[in-house]
């Protein structure tokens, strides 16, 4: 957790689109091993310049050979200095950056500091080498304990630079008190005092502190050549500082274009007007049932084990399927570094610990977390007595690094969530018979293996098998209970071939087999009761429904990537095909989904993208069965979509503007034919979603970062071709999110997030009639989703103070949610006869305090 390399002030490395290897598959971590400076060239002090220290920030493009192929000034240090720094930097030599062992070109920002030495020793000076060594030692970095190379150690007229092991030796010092200064770009200058006895050679270990405490291994914004039309990315160091996301990289997806604001507590991913269940969530290319714990606060994977979060709002590559919405692929972090470390995180909601380390050829990562928010809630009068949420998770990762041409890893992860809610008497404005309350639990486990082999330079073979189980159970009072158990096995096998810089191809199999067992107990009337306007559920003769089926769905896919022009990056065309299948006892379905995307880099700073295709999604488990336990006759849902966008990267990429228009037509949507919205399934529904997404992002530089995401969209549905269009329940016309962060001195980070969203549509109810047989009012309904909630807006703030110790770093933070907010209604409630309307408002002001402690062993 430091600045990437010697002399690099900002942990920004970015691979230019040119000459890059094929896109890593969904399962492959896209982490880049940063370059390391091996030859530093000292720039001459410009003639006549004042002797004050000066900094010039350069942006260097480092090629596969480690040579500086381009150097530009980003922040000027003044006339003379800029030219001197550029001239020197062009002669730097680095070890090349690598990804998956293959050298890749990168861009990084380099801070060149000019400072006059107290007394510059001239080469013609007396040969100090012959003087005895008076002072020797090692310089290490605060926080990590790592030896630091290239630190200039100066005492009087003697000076030396530390070597790769951080060692230095000073000669020719007089006896007595010596003032020593330690300087290195990107580090806070340190001063040490030491008393040298007569004829002694003193031995010391000194520590210097980096100016930025940043993720070392997780490379920031990362922009590989792409199949998909739009992919937004944010670096881990930015993620950590976004308020309200609790440092969880997956939560940041909610702040990116295309993602609607979910109702609080649901953590749903509603991408480009799709249903939450239409967005596929993957870990290393393997589907998982859910990404967030209860309450949507934290994802089920420890942030320290996440290498990258890939978010595709639509028109994704053929590697992905079984979803008509978006795709979120969480890539587990590969490469833990040679220093074992432990990270402990605690806040008001939960605590967790992570260990990562490398032992020879073996890499091990272990993480676990458990919540205790239930205990805290129980201390809140009127809350804890009925709400009792508990969540926990674990991850274990092993990787073998024995051979350059082979990647092998095993990742096991699992989660348990339970929630018990005892409904308060009259808590919904009504009397209630249900004192059993609501209970739900979710358990999921996955074991994911991964083997990648590069038998020859142009070839890569990848195999990703996995097994897992998901168990869900829920009950609603005495009225409704269900239990579902799903066992799943999957295998992804891919072969990638790149015969020339102008053509590459990929073929793959993505096969899944699952068994589903479900049992549910529903009231015979099918009525689940209403929270508003009634509250009495006196049905007692329940119906038990159980179903079991096996689902076998091998998918085949292939794509080519063509780069027809002389500069291979100018135009990239990616046609692909995915054969989606679904075989169950209930029926078989096969669809062939074509996809196409293209990217044209018109100038250095302007690119256009376009893409489109069809996607297919098999019915959800719940849609496969009718209330009486018989098989429903539904078939997969489909969507055709298209998008086109432009990407501007002015100011040498310091600013990134993207704008994308999208249009999607969904058909064969599964809808319920009855008033309860459950059962009597058929494929008569259709939907459409269209809109514009825009994002302006300032690439992180000098401790400042930020972005603004805006989505203008409309999403509509109809249950039948002959109906009128009505708004989708999460249709949000405007969704604006602004995020900014800034680093102050003294290791203080400030962050802010503001969101404004149009209110969700809802179906208005008006004065009801009293059913004397049930004692409940039946409302008169307005047009479906014909009304809208008032808009939502909220400002969240975050402040963090870091403390760096010799081998540890402590971050204390306070997250303040809803510092400024509107009424933010989330749901509409009615009184017993639907004559009074009220809202369940969003969260109040919530302060959350916590700390992250990282220790290097």
């Amino acid at each position: 957790m430091t600045g990437i390399i010697a002399l690099v002030a900002t942990a920004l490395a970015q691979e230019p689109a040119s000459d890059a290897p094929p896109t890593p598959p969904p399962g492959e971590a896209a982490a880049v091993v940063p370059p390391v400076l091996t030859r530093f060239v000292e720039a001459p002090w410009p003639d006549g310049a004042p002797p004050d220290p000066v900094e010039v920030v350069l942006r260097l493009t480092i090629d596969e050979a480690g040579q500086v192929s381009q150097a530009d000034v980003i922040t000027s240090g003044g006339p003379g200095f800029d030219e001197a720094a550029l001239a020197a930097a062009r002669n730097f030599v680095f070890t090349p950056a690598t990804r998956a062992g293959v050298p890749v070109p990168v861009i990084l920002d380099f801070s060149y500091r000019f400072a006059l030495r107290p007394a510059d020793p001239t080469p013609e000076a007396p040969p100090v080498a012959e003087s005895p060594v008076r002072l020797e030692g090692v310089v290490r970095q605060m926080g990590t304990g790592r030896p630091l190379a290239d630190v200039l150690v100066t005492a009087g007229s003697s000076s030396a630079r530390t070597d790769a092991e951080g060692r230095f030796a000073l000669r020719g010092l007089p006896d007595g008190e010596a003032a020593v200064s330690l300087t290195r770009t990107g580090f806070i200058p340190a001063r040490e005092a030491i008393t040298l006895g007569a004829g002694d050679a003193a031995r010391v270990t000194w520590w210097v502190k980096a100016q930025d405490w940043d993720e070392a291994e997780v490379v920031g914004t990362w922009d590989p050549p792409r199949d998909e039309v739009v992919r937004y990315s944010v670096s881990m160091s930015e993620v950590r500082k976004v308020p309200g996301t609790f440092g969880d990289p997956i939560r940041v997806v909610e702040t990116l274009p295309g993602a609607a604001r979910p109702a609080f507590g649901t953590g749903q991913l509603i991408i480009r007007g799709s249903n939450p269940e239409d967005t596929g969530i993957y870990v290393d290319g393997i589907r998982i049932p859910r990404i967030y714990h209860l309450g949507g606060y934290e994802s089920v994977i420890a942030p320290e084990l996440i290498g990258d979060v890939q978010y595709f709002p639509g028109d994704f590559g053929v590697e992905y399927g079984r979803s008509t919405g978006g795709v979120v692929n969480v890539v587990s972090k590969a490469g833990y570094g040679d220093q074992p470390r432990i990270v402990w995180s605690t806040d008001f909601l939960d605590s967790g610990g992570v260990f990562t380390g490398r032992f020879g050829d073996h890499e091990v990562g272990v993480a676990a977390r458990r919540s205790y928010v239930d205990a805290l809630l129980s201390a809140v009068p009127g809350v804890g007595s009925f709400a009792s949420p508990v969540w926990s998770d674990y991850q274990l990762r092993y990787a073998w690094k024995g051979r350059e041409d082979i990647d092998f890893s095993v990742f096991a992860l699992g989660m348990w969530d339970t929630l018990k809610v005892t409904l308060p008497e009259g808590g919904f404005g009504q009397g209630s018979l249900d004192d059993d309350g609501v209970a739900s639990s979710t358990t999921a486990h996955r074991l994911i293996g991964r083997l990648a082999w590069r038998p020859a330079e142009a070839w890569e073979l990848r195999l990703t098998p996995s097994v897992g189980v998901d168990i869900d159970s829920s009950s609603f009072g005495g009225a409704f209970a269900s239990y579902t158990e799903q066992w799943q096995g999957s295998l992804r096998a891919e072969a990638g071939w790149r015969p020339s810089p102008h053509v590459d191809g990929l073929v793959g199999v993505d096969a899944m087999v699952g068994t589903y067992d479900s049992e549910s107990q529903v009231p015979s009337g099918g009525g689940f009761g209403q929270l508003g306007g009634g509250g009495e559920n006196e049905e007692s003769d329940d119906t038990e429904v159980s179903s079991t089926f096996t689902d076998w769905s091998p998918a085949l896919y292939a794509r080519a990537r063509l780069r027809p022009l002389r500069d291979p990056d100018t135009l990239v065309i990616t046609p692909g095909l995915r054969l989606e299948t679904d075989f169950t006892e209930y029926g078989n379905a096969v669809s062939l989904d074509p996809r196409l995307s293209a990217r044209w880099k018109a100038t250095k700073w302007l690119a256009f993208t376009v893409g489109g295709g069809r996607t297919t999604q098999a019915p959800q488990v719940t849609d496969r069965t009718e209330l009486d336990g018989t098989a429903s006759e539904v078939t997969p849902e489909h969507a055709w979509s298209a998008s086109a966008g432009a990407e501007l990267t002015p100011m040498d990429g310091a600013l990134r503007l993207t704008a994308t228009g999208f249009d999607k037509y969904m058909y064969d949507l599964i809808v319920s034919g009855n008033e309860f919205g459950f059962g009597e399934w058929d494929n008569s529904g259709v939907g459409r979603a269209y809109g514009l997404e825009a994002m302006v992002k300032l690439q992180p530089i000098h401790g400042a970062f930020g972005w603004v995401s805006y989505t203008l969209s409309r999403s509509e549905r109809k249950d039948d071709e002959h109906d009128d269009w009505h708004g989708y329940e999460y249709d949000q016309t405007h969704n604006l999110v602004a995020v900014a962060g800034y680093r102050l001195p003294w290791e203080i980070d400030l962050g802010g997030k503001f969101q404004y969203t149009t209110g969700n549509p809802f179906t208005e109810q008006s004065a009801g009639t009293f059913d004397t047989d049930t004692g409940r009012y039946t409302p008169t309904s307005g047009p479906e989703n014909g009304a809208r909630l008032p808009p939502y807006y909220a400002l969240d703030l975050r402040i963090e103070k870091g403390f760096t110790f010799k081998r540890a770093h402590l971050g204390l933070y306070a997250d303040f949610l809803n510092v400024v907010k509107g009424d933010n209604p989330e749901f509409v409630l009615y009184n017993y006869d639907y004559t009074e309307v009220g809202y369940v408002s969003g969260l109040p002001f919530i302060p959350n305090l916590g700390f992250d402690l990282e220790v290097r062993l």
């Binding site: 009259g426 018979l433 007692s540 009801g768 969260l843």
Partner: protein
Amino acid sequence: MILLTLATACSSPQFTQQWLIDRTRVLAVRAEPPEPAPGAVVTLSALVVDPDGDPEVAWVACSLPVDCPDYAAVQELAAADTGAMTSDELAAWQADATAAGFLGFGVGLSPTLLVLGAGPPDGGPDTGLPDTGFPDTGSAPRSSELTVVLDAIPAGKGLADVTLGDAEATEIGTKSISVADSETPNQNPTVTSLSIDGESEATVSRGEAVSLEATLADGSAESYADADGETQTEEPTVSYYVSGGTLVQSIVAADDAEVSWTAPESSGTVRLWAIVRDGRGGTDWLVETVTVE
């Protein structure tokens, strides 16, 4: 979900409680017998309450559950009393209305008779109903559902002041009646007492918390065969309503029907209602008056 519950607890809107009678309300409609056979005579009675006096009630019976009553014509008919239509017009209207599922119309709160015809052509027995009663309903098919809709018009207003069927202006109650040839037709349950702290009559202090408990007659929870032929036992519920004070719980199972009621802080009389429903269309009620001192 956590936060949903949190917020529900913290920021739920404060609504008027359904157990507090502070306006005209239809609380129950009782059919005797509750599950009549074709040709039976059904006596309907309604519990309609109004803190400000006696509300006017208009009834419409239909053989279709939805959208049956032609309210405008019914209202015209009722308000005009005489002379609104010629006898030919009336006959024509009745023919159309009957075709649309209209069974009959009545005004008033007192027990009203609904006669289910055994079928055409004779139309069943002639009961010589008063004007406020339902006429002969003609043909009620076997195993059919009848719907009775009540419009209770708040005290101080008359039939001519409101539009029937307007849920904003009148309090509308609906009642379904199953017409079936059952060997063991459903019976109405019976509430035998509504005790206050175990006493049949009581005077309570202002702000005092006491218990209310409705007691059902033996046999109120009947056994019956469900749609699958399995024997089930009714689980009756009791709904309490009060004209003052606070109820902690208002709808409970009849076999554990004790609830807590806190008397208002001002003295006066408070009316208490206990309504029992057997879940299959059978109902009964009791009203008590408590003096708060």
